[in-house]
């Protein structure tokens, strides 16, 4: 039997037996937050500490208790019928649950994450899939996929998309790779990706370009991880010079998030390095800046105070303190001040050469 299905039934049975014995039934799941993770560079990702939340027959938790069980029942049905539901569809299914329905999709997403964390499985194994795309790839890479109908191997050459790109699928476990590239460059914005693709930077630098389009999706992270592990190639992240780029994007790519710490093990890229815009770059390249917004400052202070990753690296602490002191931020596209192709001709080559300017 499916591993996830076995776990779901075990938990349900456990609750049922408790009820039959007239004992208060309860569901325990790991607390999904930064306060419940630790960072060990040897493992390379955020790992869960032991904190748990308990849902039972109390006024504050009974609703989520019932919702979690109903969501588990939906998952069981999906697995048994070998069907899938998008996160949004699951949300709409709950509209039949009267008082137990979800008001907003964030609520059903959160319960879904709880079930994942509780069972220590991936939501795809539960039959739930996200809507979001996985990211885009261009450069020296051949992806080997299967035809969904025939099961025949398909070789996808990522150099042959012209001004377009290969789109990472939602599930990447079955993919195989062929490449002789020297590194993977994970880029924050689609705009910067477009520029690098247009000028075939991948050819010049012998690399694979990946557009993350903001915070990388799970599929994107898993794709980069598998690719870099399989082919033993390093990963460099190129983001804006602001707290969002540093922590929400780069840190999530490298070590995972507090919110989904239960799956970080598979969805992190521990060997990623940061070659994006640093506070020092802002000074040295005399980049045009914007003032830090209040939300940026808050994010920076939060990171210093609560983020085990930042707390582990003095370099990051120094950088973020410097940025807060400078009170400015700079986008990666600000390099265009020195000419549209300055990034290709000067910045990236210089940065890639000078490892001292990287951040861990």
């Amino acid at each position: 039997m499916n591993k996830a299905l076995t776990k779901i039934k075990d938990i349900a049975n456990n609750i049922y037996q408790k009820i039959m014995k007239k004992k208060q039934p309860q569901l325990k799941s790991p607390l999904r937050s930064l306060s419940n993770v630790k960072y060990d560079p040897k493992d390379g990702f955020f790992e869960l500490l032991g904190k748990e939340k308990v849902r039972t027959l109390t006024a504050s938790s009974v609703k989520t208790f019932a919702q979690t069980l109903r969501m588990m029942a939906l998952s069981k049905e999906l697995i048994e019928k070998d069907d899938i539901a998008t996160k949004r569809e699951a949300y709409y299914v709950s509209k039949n649950w009267a008082e137990a329905r979800f008001k907003e999709q964030v609520d059903s997403d959160s319960i879904m994450d709880d079930i994942e964390a509780m069972l220590m499985v991936n939501r795809e194994q539960l039959g739930f899939i996200p809507e979001e795309k996985g990211g885009e790839v261009a450069g020296k890479l051949i992806v080997i996929d299967k035809d969904p109908e025939t099961g025949k191997k398909i070789r996808i050459d990522c150099t042959k998309f012209g001004s377009g790109a290969y789109s990472i699928p939602i599930s990447v476990e079955h993919l195989k790779f062929e490449t002789n590239a020297k590194f993977i460059l994970a880029i924050e914005t689609a705009g910067m990706f477009q520029r690098l693709v247009k000028h075939k930077f991948w050819k010049k630098a012998n690399c694979i370009l990946i557009s993350m389009g903001g915070v990388p999706t799970r599929a994107c992270r898993r794709f980069i991880r598998r690719l870099s592990e399989d082919k033993k190639i390093p990963v460099y992240a190129f983001t804006d010079g602001d707290p969002y780029g540093y922590f929400n994007i780069y840190r999530t790519l490298k070590v995972g998030s507090g919110n989904a710490a239960h799956i970080n093990q598979y969805f992190c890229v521990p060997n990623a390095r940061f070659i994006g815009i640093t506070p020092q770059d802002i000074i040295e390249y005399k980049l045009p800046t914007h003032p830090l917004k209040e939300v940026d400052i808050k994010r920076a202070k939060d990171a210093l105070k609560n983020d085990p990753f930042v707390q582990h690296y003095k370099e990051w602490q120094k950088a973020i303190k410097q940025l807060v002191q400078m009170k400015v931020r700079a986008e990666q596209q600000a390099l265009a001040k020195w000419g549209l192709n300055y990034v290709i001709e000067k910045y990236l080559p210089q940065k890639l050469k000078d490892t001292k300017k990287w951040l861990p």
Partner: protein, 542 residues
Amino acid sequence: MVNNETKAHEFAKKQREISIAEFFEKNRHLLGFDNKRKALLTTIKEAVDNSLDACDEAGILPEVIVEVIDMQNDRFKVIVEDNGPGIVKSQIPKIFAKLLYGSKFHKLSQSRGQQGIGISAAVLYGQLTTGKPVKITSKISPSQPAHYYELMIDTKNNKPYIIKEETVDWKKPHGTKVEIDLEGSYQKGDQSIDQYLKQTAVVNPHVTLIYTSPKAEQFVFARATNKLPVHPKEIKPHPYGVELGMLLRMLHDTEARTLQSFLTNEFSRIGAGTAKQICENAALLPSTKPKAVTREMAEKLMEGIKKTKIIAPPTDCLSPIGAEALEKGLKKEISAEFFTAVTRPPSVYRGNPFIIEAGIAYGGQQNSDSQAKLLRFANRVPLLYQQSACAITKSVITTSWRKYGLQQSSNSLPIGPVTIAVHIASVWVPFTSESKEAIAHYPEIIKEIKLALQECGRKLSVYIHKKRRIFAESKKRSYIETYIPHVAQALKELLSLKEKDKEKTEQLLKEILEKHRGELEKIIVNNPDFDEELALEGETNE
């Protein structure tokens, strides 16, 4: 000059003594006869107060029958009959037909009436508006006949004018019956006769009142206790409460030979030592003859009293209702869930001892959106008019009720299903006017009232919070229960349970909930004194 003299002589011809009766004929509002509605109430109030005072003084459990008959054209006949000690024949005319004649003015003791003006004023009012005499029947013992009088007041001379007098047969062993015809108007509502009698029943749980309204409805406010109020002792005035005019009169009237013995004999709390000290502080010889004391010397004496430390007056002259009896009174007349009452220890204002009592009736059928109902009482008499001018109202308004669980906007009465009763018992209640409707704002009195209210408030808040807690808990439970079917449904789907097992799951979950959260506390409303049938009588339905 000559002209002026002539004028003065001319004036002098018009100048003559004004009799007290003539004065009130023209100033009837001073005594509570401002309008027809109030006149009817005041008449009943004076008669009932007198009956109750007489019974209390004689140690008789009062049973008072009040009958108001609508004679049409704004005329009413008021009949008040009691089972009191009766009145000696020779006194009847003076009591009912001579203003300012009575036994209460010259002594200091707690009683309903104070000045001996009330009933005769009612008689005068009836006489002025209908021209009819007052009819009195009174009997002092089973062995003696009853005396019947028809009286009018000779207003010029303030003397009774006897129209008819005879002995009659009356089955009652003793008692008095008064019958007054007057112009009035009858309305239900907060300031009605019905309310007055109902409130009287609240603070006089030892009284039975039988009332027939002008609409011929009969109400019985039944006695809730057979315990008579403790008979209050008469006391002499305390020096701190005396004013110059009164002091001069006392000096003139005294039989004492020296100032020292005057002080020790005529006042409370003055012994020989204190008396000497007062004289010393006043720079007067203790041996001065009281009759020889001039106005200037009396002023010095006042100064001397002020400078001397004198212990507070005795308080055994007060007869409070008692917290227990007040609570009983509230219980029997008000449909509520929670009752509490307190009696404060005695206190003193201007040398007059007083006691404050307060009670609260909360919840039940009372309206929760309107202002609290305030019942004010002085010496067991309800005060129905001039609420806003009264020290009791001020005290209630300036008490912070929010912390006791009631709503309140600034400078107003709290809002909620609550009745607040406040009673002041004193040998001399400081009313703001002769019509005895509002209590003067003495800081000492306001302070005591607020302390009493706070004490009640604290008990009230315990109850309100308990009630809210139970309400919140039962709300939580029913919230949790709405999700029980979902838990059972999910388990049915997850474990492919049969419908029967699903139902059992739901049942067991309910049991677990009950077991886990404990039994729901219950509020027990235990009020054996409350009889809906009786209590609702006299309720105002406007």
